[in-house]
Symmetry: C2
Subunit: 246 residues, 2 copies
DNA sequence: CGGTGCGTTGACATTTATCAAACGCGGTGG
DNA sequence: CCACCGCGTTTGATAAATGTCAACGCACCG
């Protein structure tokens, strides 16, 4: 095993333990999974709607998104994924993909064969429980995005997304001091928010004018966390992190 | 065990087997689960955001919805649930509810204690796999709703929902002949679709004027399935049913 | 030096929300 | 039996939010 693979698996173990408890044996089983490390360019498809993948991704570096594209060409992103995430874990139980998985930035990822994962799950119910819980948290985030899409005004919606992405990155050590990477274009944000690029741009300017945030060169700075949270009625319960302090 | 309980569990076994295979032993284990049968009036809360439920629901009759309510009083429904569904199965692994579960119509349901479910899951990985898959299908439906919310016009969105609810009911034997129950108010539909009641009303009239559907007295009639599917770009892949023929 | 992609701006169009009122109909009590 | 009431639906007028289209600037990169 290469050292890159070993460190990828160590990261996976750490992430899973932040989701639920693992015994020593279970940790070991995860750490012994076979992985293939891959580097991908930005805006690159990983899995397409209709595919039947035979492996799961673990993000090591970079940002991915899951999305559907309509006949009109309109795209809706349903989730953004950062280091530690397993964005297509569901393919383990839903063989046919009902959406796309793409990179947004350059990505470093590990691929784990379904077969190997299934073996570990069968032998270690504790691992299964943590992975199941992980897919449930994923679903909870999608539900909350849905609430934003359906019932929040653009300003609150953008604010909500920024709060979420800051906290999620903070939880995996990628953010602190109310500052974090946000290396996505305004057009990508629009596809995630269900808004047009132009409107995203204007909302971001409004948030800046309100001295709440700045977003420059792929870096988000939150100048007033409290007010941003209040504005967007952000309640981190749905992230299901034990200590989601900011 | 009462006969109502026995028949509820028989129904549950049937539903689970439509989601994934169960061995004879596993079927038995499910059929032996303890259940409490409950009747609920319409518009009645079952579980609230913040609760820590100790049991899971199985819907036997009637309609439920999961939703969040914002400070402004706006409600977004993330899913509609019909007989056979287990709308709060996730509470098994996510102890704190991040949304509400309510009845829309009078409901007959079975409650299964978490503890009993956990025992069965621990003893029977096959049952765990089917339940996991069930939560993943649930998540897939939410993702598709998200796409509708973010990127579809109201007309297509309404059409999409009608197609989905017809097919889902057909799959559990509650619908046939392009006709099915839809016992929810236009205001509930609005909360599910992210639209105002008034707009839902107008869109339904448009669909009727196009000779696509009629919706009267809680009954939906689809007059031209093909055109409705085309209009709403409805692709049932996301329901992850093997034979979703109409 | 000239693309190309992204961010920004302005003018205008469209969709959808909001508000207010009326309507229909089943249920209920006089 | 009839009047009334409540709930859900329907309608019209108007407002607000957001989308679309077109153009421009600016930085990065070949």
């Amino acid at each position: 095993m290469t050292s890159a693979a070993a460190s990828a698996l160590a990261g996976l173990v750490r992430r899973l333990e932040s989701i639920g408890p693992l015994s020593a044996v279970e940790r070991r089983a995860v750490a012994d999974l076979p992985v293939a490390i891959r580097t991908l360019p930005p805006r690159c498809p990983i899995v397409r709607e209709g595919d039947r993948p035979s492996q799961c991704c673990v993000v090591l570096q970079g940002w991915l998104c899951r999305s559907n594209v309509l006949g009109s060409g309109k795209r809706q992103i349903h989730s953004l994924h950062i280091a530690g995430d397993m964005p297509d874990l569901q393919s383990l139980h839903l063989p046919v993909m009902d959406h796309n998985l793409d990179t947004l930035t350059p990505v470093l990822m590990a691929a784990i064969p379904h077969e190997a994962l299934r073996d570990v799950i069968a032998a270690h119910p504790g691992v299964a429980a943590v992975l199941w819980r992980s897919t449930l948290i994923d679903a909870a985030m999608v539900r909350q995005w849905m609430v934003c899409l359906g019932r929040r005004a653009a300003l609150e919606h953008v604010g909500h997304l920024l709060c979420e992405m800051y906290l999620r990155q903070q939880a995996v050590g990628l953010a602190s001091g109310f500052q974090c990477p946000l290396p996505v274009t305004q057009s990508d944000l629009g596809d995630a928010l269900g808004l047009s690029t132009v409107h995203v741009n204007r909302v971001l300017q409004t948030l800046r004018a309100m001295s709440l945030i700045t977003l420059q060169n792929g870096t988000l700075r939150i100048h007033d966390w409290e007010r941003l949270v209040a504005l967007s009625e952000f309640d981190p319960t749905y992230l299901h992190v034990e200590a989601a302090s900011a």
